[in-house]
Subunit: 331 residues, 2 copies
């Protein structure tokens, strides 16, 4: 089926010219006789020749026209939005995008990064996993520009783009306090992840701004499933914490919370991340939304800036969030 691939030499022989001339035709250089060009093009079509980009990239100073994106999980809507923004931007810069998923495992991130550097990608868009190997990114950033997405490891001087987790959570919780809620529960996931800590801080600030005081009894962490979030919400509402509203740290948790409060319209609910069908719920739900595609796009733009040779100080982009009021049949 897949026979030996024709090379420029094969094309040259068939066209009766030298390999150098074939190269000239393929690269559309000046000073080629029309008949020569035609003969070469005929030979290319006949053999089905495709220039070997590997050999081309081997030449000094050449680039692979490839950038890589390391994310946690391509199937998660957050990351798939980022992927789209990055892919779109890469294509606009005539680059291919290689996608790798870390699954939050450090070894996988490390192996992928090394492999990508070996493959001579022109740049790296990286979501670092939570780990304490401070040297990995610094070591590899010597060989390819790196831009961090969503999380920023300490001690590595590189550009980064992150969401305004703090501001978003603060705004949403402030919305609840403005409604007169006095005991607002917080249901979060893994507290070790960068984003969760910032969102919790935003929650705390909003609660304190409202003069309510931060009560640890109202905070439930380490809820990793929809079911866990549901149970945690029920516990906060019916237990001694006596919450009258709940802020959900992310979309999965929000789904659990919404299950828990179904039919209890007196309870206020707000959450981080968008949820499509919330529109149809009878209850109004303020949600902290943002543009993940833009996140990927901005990161990629920063990367291509570095690839193009920009040497200025590192940039930290804080992508704004927007509070939208969903639900309540209001559409």
């Amino acid at each position: 089926m897949t026979s030996r691939r024709p090379t420029m030499r094969d094309v040259a022989v068939l066209a009766g010219v030298s390999p150098a001339t074939v190269s000239r035709v393929v690269n559309d250089e000046r000073y080629i006789r029309p008949e020569t060009r035609y003969a070469v093009e005929r030979a290319i079509t006949e053999l089905g020749f495709h220039r070997n980009e590997l050999a081309r990239g081997l030449r000094p100073g050449q680039t692979t026209e490839t950038v890589a994106l390391l994310i946690e999980d391509p199937a998660n809507p957050f990351w798939s939005g980022v992927t789209r923004g990055a892919e779109e931007t890469a294509r606009r810069h005539q680059h291919m995008l290689v996608v790798g998923s870390t699954g939050q495992r450090f070894e996988q991130e490390r192996d992928l990064l090394r492999d990508l550097v070996r493959r001579r990608v022109d740049g790296l868009l990286v979501t670092p996993t939570a780990h304490d190997h401070v040297d990995l990114h610094a070591e590899l950033a010597r060989w390819a520009p790196m831009v961090f997405i969503d999380r920023v490891p300490q001690g590595v001087p590189a550009d980064s783009v992150v969401l305004d987790n703090y501001g978003g959570a603060r705004e949403a919780v402030a919305h609840l306090t403005a409604q007169g809620r006095r005991r607002i529960g917080y249901i979060g996931g893994d507290p070790a992840v960068f984003t969760g800590a910032d969102r919790l801080a935003g929650y705390r600030r909003a609660v304190e701004d409202a003069g309510l005081g931060y009560d640890p009894v109202l905070v439930s962490l380490d809820n990793h499933t929809v079911e866990a979030a549901r149970a945690a919400a029920t516990a906060l509402l019916d237990g001694p914490a006596a919450a009258d509203a709940i802020f959900a740290d992310n979309n999965r948790i929000c789904v659990g919370v919404l299950h828990a409060v179904a039919g209890r319209d007196e309870v206020g609910v707000a959450g981080f991340d968008d949820l499509e069908l919330v529109d149809l719920l009878p209850r109004p739900v303020p949600l902290v939304t943002y543009d993940t595609v833009e996140l990927g796009r901005r990161a990629a733009e920063l990367l291509f800036g570095r690839i193009a040779g920009e040497t200025g100080p590192t940039t930290q982009v804080l992508l704004p969030t927007r509070l939208v009021l969903r639900g309540g049949r209001g559409r």
Copy 2:
């Protein structure tokens, strides 16, 4: 910042050996004195050497350990699921995954495919765009094995994995007829896409199986937005068509339909694709669900089979769908 990369020659000079010996150490071959190995490893660490995989892949018979996935839109949950399945499988086979998005544009698909062949990817996972250029895939399949996902172009002998669009739609609509619905509307998107035609055929079959007869008045096509679907649903219900149930061709359309029927519990609704928050609606909604990750996985497995040299006849995998009953506060 990114200085010249060290080569095996640099490592060899520093370690006081020949480049061939460095290569032997890097590839972990036999017959190397422990002291030699150590000296080379020291030099590698000191220089931060990373083998150039491009040069390696240039050698005859070598592969790039890279496969490509061409999808419509990485941000769409359907495609992001496929991406995850493909990435996961590629990694299990020690391959990198390059992702390209076609945006349903033929020129983009063509350019991406050509570029990928030039880059010598080991295989291609392709969602063909709707077009009539029959030769493109056949031409390129000469150089790299190809597996089609979700849609199958005519006339190209290659493996493919598609959803059971026909069976899924038929089952969902049969569910509605079994409830005693007599006038079931169909709201679809672009009728030119492969999947839509199959789903419409499944709808038709189910309607006819129930002895209801196919009535074109009940069929609305070319609804590309949530709002259009909503309007179309309202028109079918309140207009002369007098529908008493509606089948939505995809998830976006289903959202529109659900908006249209909010508060009208007598109307039946079913749809293709899953919708997370449907659980919370008071109305029960049968949905045709499937495993997109599995779709990507199966396609990638077929591809790696071909890469490994399998030469049997082409395989057509029809991935089953599953009707789930969501909503109705049943959970």
